[in-house]
Amino acid sequence: MTQPSENLVIDAEVESNDGGYRQAPDEGARRSRSRGRLIFRRFLRNRLAVVALILFIAMFAWSFIGPHFNATFKGDAHCTPAVTPGLPGYDHTCMWDYKQNDFSSFSDGPSSKHYFGTTQSGQDVYAQLLRGMQKSMVIGLLAAVMTTAIASVVGSAAAYFGGFVDRILMWFVDMLLVVPGFLIIAILSPLFQGSTWLLLVVLIAIFAWMVTARAIRSQTLSLREREYVSAARYMGVRPARIIARHVLPNIASYLIVDVTLNVGGAIITEVSLSYFGFGIQSPDVSLGTLLQAGQDKATTAWWLFAFCGGALTLIVLCVNFVGDGLRDAFDPGSATSRAR
């Protein structure tokens, strides 16, 4: 028999006061509002997370729009910049892109000609940075979605079917956890030189989903034991419907948070791989290759490191703040109970 403990009730009220979440029991004035709106409102209350979300969206948009607002130069019909100024035929107005070399400007600081300066070989840092951000963010987002997708399929299947399926899948998870993933992707990097960067997305996801899968498995397992799930089962509700109505909505919040936090992880994995030359290959760039190229000159040409280092830090911070904010919004109690 569980008699609700009185002091616990009081404690909960006291705590929730500071935690910023309290549902007054039986307050007639409180109209039922949809859960989505409630979560949204709770999220909005977290200023840092909102700012982070806005910043992230802005940076993402900027990485696509920004290249169209770069400084211009006079070039030929193919927008090849002139090696020496004033050559005939070089009269097209062109915009610097991440591949072009300005042979009149090597390792120059930010100026109106090159907003964020140039590299040793005369490439436009602004164009490179945006291209790098674009690549890193797109790869991060895709890989994160994929990671969580694989994880939720495997995790929920293992928990739902149980028995033999469960054992096989979890054994597979164990094995992948034992394999040094970074090493394997690095080994395989020569294979996808020249092929599409999408392969990199797949590889990052393949070696990142296991921990999430375990978490989803244990959540599904415990959800299956909830009384309202049993109630539905005893009412004759079909398994697929139970999963759709009672299990998935409960995991959904976890999945959304997980995707968000995985974005940060995936971006860092991509950057690390590219940093060592195992990821995005020249002439394409990502924040990782830019960091690699910029680090040695950082003492003399700060713009080579500061912009891409700053951008990466900011992106990852933003993603994590958004994820943290979402988690708080979905599940106010969890902020204290989970460390990540």
Binding site: D11, D18, D174, M175, L177, V178, V179, P180, F182, L183, I184, A186, I187, L188, S189, P190, L191, G264, I268, V271, S272, Y275, F276, G277, F278, G288, L291, Q295, A298, T299, W302, F305, C308, G309, G310, L312, T313, V316, L317, N320, F321, D324, T336, S337, R338, A339, R340
Partner: protein, 324 residues
């Protein structure tokens, strides 16, 4: 319990064998050591390249399974094979493990110790100003990507050295090669500061967040009230009963992470030019050094499993609740 440990061990062993084989075969197929030899100036004749490749059992023309068999044969005698430049993988590994250990031991001790203290403090001061500052700081630190952090610290060191007038903070290698005796010791210290800081910041942040969470869980428990009800002062109840219980999961985690310490720190070692295991794993792939890659693969897999088993054992021995 022995029986269950044994069963788990066998299961792990199979996993390691599979993982290591996979690493070897992937490395053998994907990496191209021939290119490394041919890239030399002047390019050596094909026959001599073949001969070199053969001595290190890495000739891509030999079927992978034959190479694999030979490699396993060596392994069974404790021989990890030869490096691409002819050196012994085993000998190099021993040296590099020590380098990584020297780097990571201090960082781990500092990181986990400080993390536990700060986390517990933060939990006790929940929602107070100091807790908010600690929580936010550790969150930001935890989110900081290691590469820009390390490079940034390096830049900072250059600035600091500039202000001081001579090199206080070193950022390349383990020690100055021309130093001796006492000088070697101070040189080591100077070289340790930056990479240690790089590693410690993240670890402190991670452990303090974790400790804060477990401590808060424990603080909601009735047994702290019982401890106070029997006459312990709040602080003593929190330390003796609360922290002692809350630190368990953390100790388990630390044991796990310490076991993995020997695999090195890829970024910190590479950026600060420490020739440890982490740097080795990157270099070996860049140099298509199949045997080294495979050795690192085995080593890492084994460590992950040992870490798992060790932490389980520690968990069981520390927490009476899960004792069999």
């Amino acid at each position: 319990m022995g029986k269950f440990l044994l069963r788990r061990f066998v299961n792990y062993l199979i996993l390691v064998i599979l993982a290591a084989s996979m690493t070897y075969i992937l490395a053998g197929e994907a990496l191209n050591p021939r290119a490394q030899f041919q890239a030399k100036t002047p390019p050596p004749p094909k026959a001599s390249v073949d001969a070199s490749l053969k001595t290190i059992n890495a000739n891509p023309d030999t079927p992978i399974l034959v190479r694999y068999k030979r490699w396993v044969g060596g392994l069974l005698h404790g021989d990890f094979g030869k490096e691409i430049n002819g050196g012994s993988v085993g000998a190099d590994m021993k040296r590099r493990i020590l380098v990584s250990t020297r780097l990571l031991l201090i960082a781990t001790v500092l990181g986990s110790g400080l993390g536990i203290l700060i986390g517990a403090y933060s939990a006790i001061k929940q929602y107070k100003f100091s807790d908010r500052v600690i929580t936010l700081t550790s969150f930001v630190l935890l989110s900081l990507p290691l590469i820009p952090l390390a490079i940034g610290l390096k830049l900072l060191a250059v600035k600091v050295n500039g202000w001081v007038g001579h090199r206080v903070l070193e950022y390349t290698g383990e020690y100055a090669p021309d130093s001796h005796g006492w000088g070697r010791f101070t040189s080591r210290l100077q070289h340790l500061i930056l990479p240690t800081l790089t590693l410690v910041l993240g670890q402190v942040a991670f452990y303090s967040r974790y400790q804060r969470a477990t401590m808060l869980d424990v603080m909601g428990n009735d047994f702290l009230r019982t401890a106070q009800a029997k006459g312990l002062r709040r602080r003593k109840a929190l330390m003796k009963h609360g922290l002692r219980t809350a630190v368990l999961p953390l100790v388990v985690l630390i044991v796990y992470n310490v076991s993995l310490l020997f695999t090195g720190a890829i970024f910190t070692e590479t950026i600060f030019a420490w020739h440890g295991m982490g740097e080795w794993s990157v270099n070996s792939i860049q140099q298509s050094d199949v045997n080294v890659v495979a050795a690192i693969g085995i080593f890492t897999s084994c460590l992950i499993l040992i870490a798992g088993m060790l932490s389980d054992i520690v968990y069981v021995s520390l927490d009476p609740r899960v004792r069999v």
